[in-house]
């Protein structure tokens, strides 16, 4: 069930109403209700997906208890490995099997050996990359003694399948989310209002920004060889806005929806395109994933504590694995590698933690230095996004080559359409206003009720008058 669908528009108010009328006073009933509706939400795509998520939940619930009840370190490790192998195994089979098979075939082909690629004809379950990482974080935290395993099976299942964040994150840590299932919820008016505001802004980002940018991006990438340098540049810039609007819009809707039920999810995006360098960008983009890799891959590998060479290697590993997480295609690996290369100069100069505050912290406008940093970081990310969007590495290289090698100005019949300009300007302005705490929260601080409502109505009207309502899936659903 997509958030931007009629089914969800009916599903959410019904679930909200039932939850607060009948189910919130008793913890067990509350969690059981959330579990059932989450399974309905997830099963709407394909009921067969439910078996996998149930299996993942059973394995990790049992592993958590197994780790806690173990008498030896060897036994504890065995349960941890059970969780790791089963979750990563599921991911490997459904997401990466065919990729490895084809890659092996290509590799042998370069040395003159022709192999028949053995592939599986299977559908990638929606959200598998997200919930497997979420459950893995549970067992790892239990293993590290950072979290007591739960004995409440319903709460655990509800935590894994919690519908607002199930299919595209934020990837919640058990330490944050699971305890929220242990107590009955009390309706909070400010929290629910905040949630509605965030949902509204999320839909603006998805329907007005992302889906409109997608129309141009698809045309430009499909016909890139006939485009001018300006159009190709526009394509990469619009894709940057498309993926940001799409993914952060989804996150906002997820977080806002969770708030309607009294749950707090982690922030997933913190205005990343206002970053002054690439290190800051990676602290602000898809925060739940980057912190996951930091805590469960980078730090266990030694992080930055084992010398410069080791730090560089660990950084490359994390970026490459992060790229690979996004999809079974060499384009994502190259995208990850490119970001690692961007990061290196900062790391080597010890400048990767230069910008820990917000841009224009003490004023409204950025300084020239900040502006320069922001624009150049944005340009670098746009270049990398070409690999993310392209269907193959060769196409991406071709695209970038034409961007700089083709005539810059379009000939007749150009696709350059400046009508997205005002929309993007409004979006950037909103995001700028929310650069410290999020735009939805910023609106909540406007004291004048009339002005606040005008802002809501303006956003709603923008959605009505400029939204793309073709029920386009969110980009990150494919991961």
């Amino acid at each position: 069930m997509l958030f931007n669908s009629l089914q969800f528009a009916i599903f959410l108010p019904v679930v909200f109403g039932l939850f607060w009328l009948f189910f919130h006073r008793n913890t067990r009933l509350q969690n059981l209700f959330l579990l059932v509706v989450s399974y309905i939400f997830y099963g709407w795509w394909d009921w067969r997906f439910l078996f996998l998520i149930a299996l993942s939940s059973i394995i990790d619930y049992s592993s958590g208890l197994g780790i806690d009840n173990s008498r030896s370190e060897k036994q504890r490790k065995a349960y941890l490995w059970l969780s790791l192998v089963s979750n990563l195994g599921m991911l490997g089979v459904f997401k990466y099997f065919n990729f490895f098979s084809h890659s092996l075939q290509d590799a042998f082909s370069t040395i003159g050996i022709e192999l028949d690629a053995f592939t599986l004809d299977i559908v990638l379950p929606v959200g598998i990359s997200f919930y497997t990482f979420q459950t893995l974080s549970y067992t790892i935290d239990v293993y590290r003694n950072q979290l007591k395993p739960t004995r409440d099976v319903i709460a655990f299942f509800a935590y894994v399948s919690f519908f607002p964040q199930l299919v595209a994150g934020p990837i919640e840590r058990a330490i944050n989310l699971l305890p929220q299932f242990y107590a009955p919820k009390k309706f909070s008016y400010p929290m629910a209002l905040d949630g509605l505001r965030q949902i509204l802004y999320g839909f603006f980002k998805k329907l007005v920004v992302a889906d409109n940018c997608a129309v141009y991006v698809n045309q430009i990438f499909a016909n890139y060889q006939e485009m001018s340098g300006l159009e190709l540049t526009m394509g990469s810039v619009l894709f940057a806005f498309q993926i940001y609007g799409d993914f952060s819009g989804y996150s906002d809707i997820a977080i806002g929806t969770a708030k309607l039920f009294g749950f707090n999810l982690m922030t997933n995006f913190a205005t990343p395109y206002f970053s002054r360098d690439i290190a800051e960008f990676w602290r602000r983009w898809h925060i739940s994933l980057t912190t996951w890799f930091r805590d469960y891959v980078y730090i266990p590998l030694g992080g930055s504590r084992s010398g410069l060479e080791r730090t560089i290697a660990n950084t490359f590993i994390v970026f490459l694995v992060s790229g690979f997480w996004h999809g079974a295609n060499w384009t994502f690996i190259v995208w990850g590698l490119l970001n690692a290369l961007y990061f290196m100069p900062l790391l080597l100069r010890g400048k990767n933690r230069s910008h820990l505050n917000n841009i224009a912290e003490n004023g409204f406008l950025p300084s020239f230095r900040e502006l320069f940093g922001m624009v150049s970081t944005f340009a670098l990310t746009c270049l990398a996004w070409v690999f993310f969007r392209a269907e193959s590495v060769s196409l991406a290289i071709d695209y970038i080559g034409l961007m700089f090698g083709q005539g810059f100005f379009p000939k007749e019949g150009s696709l350059v359409d400046w009508n997205m300009g005002p929309v993007l300007f409004v979006f950037i302005f909103f995001d700028w206003l929310g650069r410290k705490s999020g735009f939805a929260q910023f609106v909540g601080t406007i004291r004048n009720t009339f002005l606040r409502r005008v802002v809501y109505y303006f956003i709603l009207c923008m959605i009505l008058l400029y939204g793309e309502f073709n029920e386009t899936a969110f980009i990150y659903f494919q991961f």
Partner: protein, 317 residues
């Protein structure tokens, strides 16, 4: 919770006048390029404005036609008039049954026809109807039935455009629009027909990829409602698939199954003129539409079939 629901209701209610005002201002102030979901084009392509204006004054007719541009560019009232059969063409651009239902009830039924001729090109029953809804809204006086029609497409564009049309209709004298009879290559002919300047279709430079057409349930429901409405008023119903070029015809992979669907509709007669006429490309001006030579050839056969099946000419005499 009660406070939350109460305040949400207030906010929602106050949004109603706000967004109506916003739509009016948006349409008046912003350039066309920024009016993405507000597509108000009175007197646009297809001469629907003139057609509907004429429908109110023409009086009773023998035959009313519904359908897409295959109808209003393919069925010429002058051919029928020679045999003293008065025909009025209520076709419109990309018309789907949802719009057909509205047009038939509002404009077709008052003409008290003896026969309803529905041109059935399958793509129109597979469409969401948004393009046609916008055409009808832009060329009609807003009313409740038109609003219901706008909502049936489940798309925001007809809704927003309707609100704007309501405002424009009450402020700028929409009813006095002067639509030219001749627009570029098209000439409006009394009776609802649009004649294109003679051209011949050279054929497609590449083969069309065959695809299955999947009919939309809401369109099928509206289609069956039109037929039921006509049958209830004792109006005979004929379903007609107008000739299209061979390229276009062969691009519909499941045309036999679609023919089967139309043939099985009770209380109607269905004829696919692609089976009986086999017109070559020089009878068309593009893959979809007949040129005047093609129209006359098609209409001659259609007229013959109508006289044989429904005896309309005898009633007219």
């Amino acid at each position: 919770m009660a406070l939350f629901l109460k305040k949400s209701a207030i906010v929602f209610l106050l949004f109603v006048p706000f967004h109506i005002t916003f739509i009016m201002l948006w349409g008046e102030v912003l350039p066309q390029g920024l009016q993405k979901n507000l597509l108000y084009f009175p007197g646009g392509y297809g001469a629907l404005y003139t057609r509907l204006k004429e429908a109110k004054t023409i009086g009773n007719v023998d035959v009313v036609v519904l359908g897409s541009s295959h109808a209003y560019r393919g069925i010429d009232p002058r051919v029928f008039a020679k045999e003293e059969i008065q025909l009025f063409n209520l076709g419109s651009s990309a018309q789907t049954p949802i719009q057909g239902e509205y047009l038939f009830e509002k404009y077709g039924m008052p003409l008290k026809p003896k026969l309803l001729l529905i041109e059935v090109f399958p793509s129109t029953l597979a469409s969401d109807g948004v393009e046609s809804a916008l055409d009808v809204i832009g060329n009609s006086v807003p009313n409740l039935a038109l609003f219901e029609m706008a909502l049936k497409s489940w798309n925001v564009k007809p809704y927003v455009t309707f609100i704007y049309a309501l405002y424009k209709n009450n402020t700028t004298g929409f009813t006095n629009l002067a639509e030219p009879v001749k627009k570029q290559e098209d000439t409006y002919v009394a009776g609802g027909f649009v004649e294109r300047e003679y051209q011949e279709y050279p054929g497609a430079p590449y083969a069309f990829v065959p695809n299955d057409i999947v009919l939309e349930e809401k369109q099928m429901k509206a289609f069956e409602k039109i037929i039921a409405c006509a049958r209830k008023a004792d109006i005979a119903v004929m379903l007609v698939m107008a000739p299209v070029s061979r390229d276009q015809l062969e691009s519909v992979a499941n045309r036999e199954a679609l023919d089967g669907y139309f043939r099985k509709i009770p209380g109607t007669v269905y004829i696919n003129y692609n089976d009986s006429l086999h017109l070559e490309n020089h009878f068309f001006y593009d893959p979809h539409h007949l040129n005047q030579k093609g129209v006359e050839t098609f209409n001659a056969q259609l007229l013959k079939d109508i006289k044989q099946l429904f005896a309309i000419d005898q009633e007219a005499k």
